[in-house]
Symmetry: none
Subunit: 136 residues, 4 copies
């Protein structure tokens, strides 16, 4: 696949490094994952002492952000009881994460992958994901 239209391993590492820097700054170890244009994992890093249960969540937040081309924080609002996408987390073999920390990666107005962050409070995950995504 043409790398202009996809995320490369080098891109993923730059994104993860930026996320780690932010996580270190706020003092909360994180799992950070990057998926490509197909939603498939390119790279993942669990910082020392980060939650083990967040490995899966970080990867699936990235997956979700690319599956629906939106931030998981935005999906969260629409997946609450009574909202239009309530129950969407049952789809895709349970891989859809409906809380903050997943953000699409955009290059030249084209979504080319996504980053997912998990390991802290929702606001922390979101802040780290934003710092990571900005490094693309």
């Amino acid at each position: 696949m043409n790398h202009e239209h996809n995320t490369s391993l080098a891109d993923a590492r730059r994104i993860i490094a930026a996320g780690e820097a932010k996580a270190t700054e706020i003092g909360q170890p994180m799992n950070i994952a990057v998926v490509d244009v197909g939603g498939n994992l390119i790279a993942h890093a669990r910082m020392d002492a980060a939650w083990i249960g967040s490995i899966d969540i970080a990867i699936n937040k990235a997956f979700t952000a690319r599956m629906f081309d939106l931030a998981t924080a935005d999906l969260a609002k629409q997946a609450q009881p009574g909202s239009q996408f309530y129950g969407i987390d049952q789809s895709n073999n349970g891989r859809v994460m409906i809380f903050a920390g997943g953000i699409p990666l955009v290059r030249n107005d084209e979504i080319i992958g996504a980053v997912g962050v998990s390991g802290g409070e929702g606001k922390q995950d979101q802040a780290v994901a934003e710092a990571a995504a900005a490094a693309l």
Copy 2:
């Protein structure tokens, strides 16, 4: 693995015995499970007449408490609709339990495993888990 930094089978049995004593005291048979520092099962006991459906729940409450380094009773509050971790129970292949009864095991300020209890009301599960964890 160095047992100073992990839970041993002897530790797990002492923890389970303390939980059983509490369960007997309150008259509610329980499933009690202990996982190690990696979240993997060390020992499980189902007291006679305890719910069969709670085998899986006890094991996964212990798993959850180690995956996120917190009591499942605390996670429960944050996993309600509208809260920051709503939907987290979809992660980790459905093994995340978001109600009371799972507690991390702490030795020398380090989390070295967790205990999970299931078989009664939430308060009963929690009381037995607390008695069990205190025996580490």
Copy 3:
């Protein structure tokens, strides 16, 4: 359920203790699991340093031995390519184990549960399971 017709937690612990004694004698740490007449877990113990991957296998060997009321070593012969039960390990959500180490528990000519052992060579698992089952 009438305990004359089922395995109790006290039975399970006696069985596991006998298995542990044999495992210690042969110098191979093991996972030992006991299921009841319904194939549901009563108790499990992972000896220190036993394989982590054998937790699931021990539990499922016990499950398999009760599901089909035979030793998994016997099922193994019939589950090879070209044999009559080839492919049976695809059934029951992948829980059917087709190698040695699972043995039904018999009381008064009635199968009331099973024991499963995993952590060593097939012959070792079988020897420990036999020692364990004999303690019923």
Copy 4:
């Protein structure tokens, strides 16, 4: 967890870098994954143009090598039809990989994690895994 008895993110990155160097040398892009002492993912990297289907395989080869404390190439021999562990790949929710490319990581005679490599021929995966493991 005490890092003397576990694999750190820095360790994992050094291991992956060594694997990548070998993969580049032999001209075959690879997925390389490192798990900790509990079998849980620390880091993963998919080199550009490596097989997407090998993401899961690399992670699970590492998992398998730690679950049974042996190289998956050795497990392969014992998991063939007629051999003692035939059918073991059904266990652990289908995560057991029974072909070459997974190797335990050893520090001071203690297994502290594992590396898994997937993306090429079995011999290539094995060669890259060996180069990776040697960098611990």
